[in-house]
């Protein structure tokens, strides 16, 4: 025995730096490890072999593997806002001061109340919660079940760390930096390809780091170092250690998650677009199915070698090996060499290779062929195993604290499956291998099911040369080292029968799924592999079944009398490993979450105390509250001021599409329900645009600036969308039309000066345009100068007042607005916001798209049916207006509404029922779409949609506003200045 005192660390060996001790804590106790350790190896070295409680049964669990496939040792790392749940202990590099905690035991890992579930496990079979927690409802149990079954606590604080994102291109992305990946990188790198070599471990070398290879008469590490050095010297080769490939998507787009080795950023999320992908990701060792195969101290045989060679740790003193293949024998040889006694190898096969027998015999290790494990004992640590012959004859017990198991090796085909490669079952190795390759995607080495380093290398060189040739490069011959010593390399795996047992046999450790659950699923008819998976939840934990899926196929095959291979596989989906949401979200956080568009005079609005909100991406003032004023009071004041003096409204986001060319009028005539051809130069018309289904998609005025030059005003949110729609028709349907479209929305600021004193104010600002009512009447426009600036003045009104929309170059917006406020001071100039404008337009009964219309509204529904139907020429959506559903006279149509009791305001969203004395529940006949208190009429006003509303003028309807019921009268939409005298003044 050669352990350091009180530890499982050997006196010598390993790739750790014994000169650099590191202190860390686990569940509050302080331990020490070395630079080069992982959290798993350091805990094992300290004889901490029980790390967690299982997901469902709260059974004690230890470390099962040495890699990312770990199903048991999921720990919480870090504190405060940097606490990270469900970290795989073998993948956490040890660092000074690291704080780790187990996450599924309460009140403590050692004494867990949740263990009662284990003692009463017969009550909780697969799917028990679907059957049990139905009364009174699942939700009354959900919180308890979630607390019992949780896997770590989510963070509640904001992530304090910085994350990066990188977009990259390369010729060849190599996944896996083991011997095959390194060889491929050498071939491709020397041939001049832009190569990216990715490995999830801290350094390259893969299996060469944890198996006893000797190359060219030296430790394999020397070859790894020389190759890594050469690759690092090649400018067109990018080396990415500590990087996990998360997913492979269409056209080889691949995502990577890189962990930082230093400070500055924590993780970097890569999106790579390689021309070719080479998967050299190796294989994952599988466990074995036998009774009580989940105890701490039961570990993959390859993981035992890994902890021995990399960290000089052997987590046991009395070791037994159980296997169905030759590779596990290497564990016996390596442990013996390290001075650890292996008392027996239990092999399910009857025929054992002569060389293997000889090796064990030479070392005095007992070989039990044709035998298997029949049971285990030991609660928080393995104490003893029961062995039996395959035919059931008991062979007795063996005292043991480490049971190394190997059920064969399963190629890491996950990315290959993401890329939609198909798999085939390989009987010899009892695992799924790549079959049909996706385009521009190759697989080599043990990821391809190939066995033996020499074979893997020659396959890799061939594949990489073919890749080079396909990308027009000539690969030079690669001289690979001589393999002087290699571990036992064998692909042959025997299928061992599994059968029903009284004691539980785990098939998925991470999700606590047993063979008994599989039996229940099959008994209840879930024999399709996809149904089976969902019923038992096997493979659905955070490890995604990396050591559980194959077991599930074996169990399902055994229970349904099928070969494992004919059971089929479930679908591997990205990500291969969990990806931090912060890394995916990296730059799109906080104020960068979505673009915020600011008005060109934003600073002036701030000075005016604008109450900003988001309107279709624009930050716009709803109103401008004065000191001591609520927003509602401000809105009422502003709406009054516009009708009695003059107001100014920043309308800059309004869409401004310029349409030019000899066919401009004909072009626009095909979009509007209104006639564009008859519009005279200098005149303005209001129009509606439909989609081909006859649904209103935008409204606004269009201006004929010149014979072949139009200005199309769209809604503020519609500018980009309408421009794109116009472009589609122009380019795809009418490419012969000579029309140029230009979305100038952000080039022009637009200020509406509205109210009885608007003309006086515009005159004071100074303009060379004749703005008299005769020369520039309502619905006309003129170009000229205002305040010395190039301006387009359009006389339209959304407020119902005398109104000038003044377009000036956006860069002068702030100065212009300040001038308006100064010049209008003695006229009572009042800046008004969107909510105030909404009051004004509602008084006038003007339609507001998106409030009063939705994705079902047609021109008929808003009072434009006659115009739309009677237009002589065709336009987009016209034909749809004649479809039966659009001719139904009971469609919901826009109407004005007035409450029967004027003290009872109407609420937007309240439902309408025809008739006065209606009972609920009932099918709705419409609803209130817009409503406010009118300061000018001094009563509540509203618009709403109502079934057959256009012929119901004067009718009383019932309003259902949540718990309240009251009545309203159908009235005209326009309720203020019905003769439109004001806007024409």
């Amino acid at each position: 025995m050669s352990f350091v005192a009180n530890s499982y660390r050997l006196q010598n060996g390993g790739q750790i730096d014994r000169q650099k001790p590191l202190n860390f804590s686990f569940n509050g106790d302080v331990y020490s490890g070395f630079e080069g350790d992982t959290l798993a190896s350091a805990l094992l070295a300290n004889r901490v072999t029980m790390l967690s409680r299982s997901f469902k049964y709260h059974r004690p669990r230890g470390i099962f593997s040495a890699g990312e496939e770990e199903p048991n040792a999921l720990l919480e790392i870090g504190q405060g806002a940097r606490r990270e749940p469900s970290c795989r202990a073998p993948m956490v590099p040890l660092r000074e001061g690291l704080v780790a905690r187990s996450q599924n035991g309460w009140p403590s890992l050692g004494f867990d109340v949740g263990r009662s579930i284990d003692y009463s496990h017969a009550l909780w079979p697969a799917g028990f919660y679907n059957k049990t927690f139905k009364w009174p409802s699942w939700h009354s149990w959900e919180e308890i079940v979630r607390r019992m079954a949780g896997l770590g606590r989510p963070l509640t604080e904001a992530d304090p760390d910085h994350y990066e994102q990188v977009n990259a291109h390369c010729d060849l992305l190599i996944v896996g930096g083991g011997p095959t990946g390194l060889a491929a990188a050498l071939v491709a790198g020397r041939a001049g390809l832009r190569v990216m070599l990715v490995d999830q471990n801290e350094s390259f070398g893969g299996v060469l780091n944890w198996e006893p290879y000797q190359l060219d008469g030296a430790d394999a590490g020397q070859w790894v170092q020389s190759v890594a050095d050469e690759l690092a010297s090649l400018a067109h080769v990018t080396l990415l250690p500590r990087t996990t490939v998360a997913g492979s998507y269409d056209h080889n787009v691949t995502t990577l998650l890189q962990r930082s080795s230093g400070s500055g950023w924590r993780e970097c999320y890569w999106t790579v677009r390689p021309r070719q992908v080479l998967l050299a990701a190796g294989a994952i060792e599988q466990g074995m199915i036998f009774p009580e195969n989940d105890r701490p101290g039961i570990m993959l045989a390859g993981a035992v070698r890994d902890y021995l060679h990399r960290y000089a740790v052997v987590p046991g003193e009395k070791v037994v090996i159980a296997a169905n293949n030759d590779t596990a024998y290497q564990t016996a040889l390596d442990l013996h060499q390290a001075g650890i006694t292996v008392s027996a190898v239990v092999d399910g096969r009857v025929q054992i290779d002569a060389e293997r027998k000889q090796q064990l015999q030479a070392l005095g290790i007992e070989l039990l062929a044709g035998a298997r494990i029949a049971g285990t004992r030991g609660d928080k640590a393995l104490r003893e195993i029961q062995i039996e012959q395959m035919d059931g004859i008991q062979l007795g017990r063996k005292s043991c604290d480490l049971l190394a198991v190997s059920g064969g090796w399963s190629p890491r085909v996950h990315l290959f499956s993401h890329a939609r490669g198909s798999l085939k079952f390989d009987v010899n190795s009892q695992s799924f291998h790549p079959d049909r390759l996706p385009k521009d995607f190759s697989v080599v080495g043990s990821a391809n099911g190939t066995v033996g380093l020499a074979e893997c290398w020659s396959e890799t060189v061939r594949a990489t040369e073919a890749i080079c040739a396909s990308l027009g490069r000539k690969a030079a011959d690669l001289k690979l080292p001589v393999i002087d010593q290699a571990p036992v390399e064998s692909a042959q795996v025997s299928h061992l029968a599994v059968n029903s047992r009284k004691k539980r046999q785990w098939i998925d450790l991470a999700h606590d799924v047993t063979f008994g659950d599989a039996e229940l699923a099959v008994r209840e008819g879930y024999v399709s592999v996809e149904h089976f998976k969902r019923y038992t939840t096997t493979g659905m934990s955070v490890d995604q079944g990396k050591t559980g899926n194959l077991n599930a196929f074996i169990a399902l095959g055994a229970l349904t009398g099928r070969e494992t291979g004919s059971v089929g596989t479930t679908t591997f989906r990205p990500p291969y490993m969990p990806v931090t949401l912060s890394a995916i979200a990296a730059p799109y956080n906080g104020k960068f979450f979505a673009p915020r568009r600011l008005l060109p005079a934003h600073t002036v609005h701030q000075q005016l105390n604008g109450a900003f909100d988001d309107f279709a991406g624009w930050q716009r003032p709803e109103c401008y509250p004065r000191v001591g004023e609520t927003e509602q009071q401000a809105i009422q004041r502003e709406a009054l001021a516009v009708r009695h003096g003059v107001g100014v409204f920043d309308n800059s986001p309004i869409g401004k599409i310029e349409v030019r060319g000899p066919h401009a009028a004909e072009f626009l005539n095909r979009f509007y329900i209104n006639n564009v051809l008859t519009l005279k130069t200098g005149k303005v018309r209001y129009g509606l645009m439909l989609n081909e289904n006859g649904i209103i998609i935008d409204d606004g005025v269009f201006v004929r600036l010149a014979e072949n030059h139009f200005l199309v005003h769209t809604t503020s949110g519609g500018a980009a969308r309408i421009t794109e729609m116009m472009e589609e028709w122009l380019q795809c349907e009418w490419p012969g039309m000579q029309v140029l479209l230009d979305d100038t929305t952000t080039q022009w600021a637009n200020f509406t000066v509205a109210g009885p004193a608007a003309r006086e104010l515009l005159t004071r600002l100074g303009t060379d345009i004749d703005i008299s009512a005769d020369t520039l009447p309502h619905m006309s426009a003129a170009c000229g100068q205002v305040m010395g600036l190039d301006a387009r003045v359009v006389r339209v009104s959304f407020s119902g007042e005398l109104s000038f929309e003044i377009n000036i170059p956006a860069r002068h917006a702030a100065a212009f607005l300040q001038a308006v406020l100064l010049q209008g001071e003695d006229l009572g100039i009042t800046p008004y916001g969107i909510e105030s404008l909404m009051v004004l337009r509602l008084e006038k009964g003007y339609l507001h798209l998106g409030s009063d219309t939705d994705g079902t509204s047609t021109p008929d529904d808003v009072g434009w049916g006659v115009v739309a139907r009677e237009k002589a020429t065709d336009y987009i959506g016209k034909r749809s207006l004649f479809r039966p559903a659009n001719l139904d006279e009971n469609r919901q149509q826009l109407v004005g509404l007035a409450p029967a009791d004027a003290s009872q305001p109407l609420e937007p969203g309240a439902h309408l029922l025809l008739g006065e004395n209606r009972q609920v529940p009932a099918r709705t006949d419409g609803w209130v779409t817009s409503a406010c208190y009118s300061p000018n009429l001094k009563r509540p006003i509203a618009l709403g949609v109502l079934a057959g509303g256009s012929r119901r003028m004067g009718e009383i309807v019932t309003v259902i506003d949540e718990q309240k019921r009251y009545h309203a009268r159908v009235v005209e939409m326009v309720q203020f200045d019905k003769g439109n005298e004001r806007l024409k003044s």
């Binding site: 056209h251 009418w734 004649f882």
Partner: protein, 93 residues
């Protein structure tokens, strides 16, 4: 994410583009004389080919040009992309 070869700009990521559906949909020459069924066929019914078909794409965040792509709807492989045909005349709505 698809990689799409814009005939004007070269190969770019899918998120620069917008798919415009099947390129072979024909608008009835005289909509007012089309039956409701014919009009519904134009509005709603698509071939939904399993395999290679032609579709419209817009390079929205690039040259803003529409083009025609020949794509395999099973493998997502782009067989070809080419500009829209040059045409004269005003066409009809």
């Amino acid at each position: 994410m698809l990689r799409i070869n814009c005939p004007w700009c070269g190969t770019r990521d899918q998120n620069e583009f917008r798919n415009g559906g099947e390129a072979t949909v024909l608008r009835p020459a005289d909509p007012q004389s089309a039956s409701d069924d014919e009009w519904a066929d134009y509005l709603f019914y698509r071939n939904n080919v399993k395999g290679v078909h032609q579709e419209r794409w817009l390079h929205s965040f690039g040259c803003r040009q529409w083009f025609i792509a020949t794509r395999d709807t099973v493998t997502h492989e782009f067989v070809d992309t080419h500009p829209l045909p040059v045409a004269t005349g005003l066409g009809k709505v």
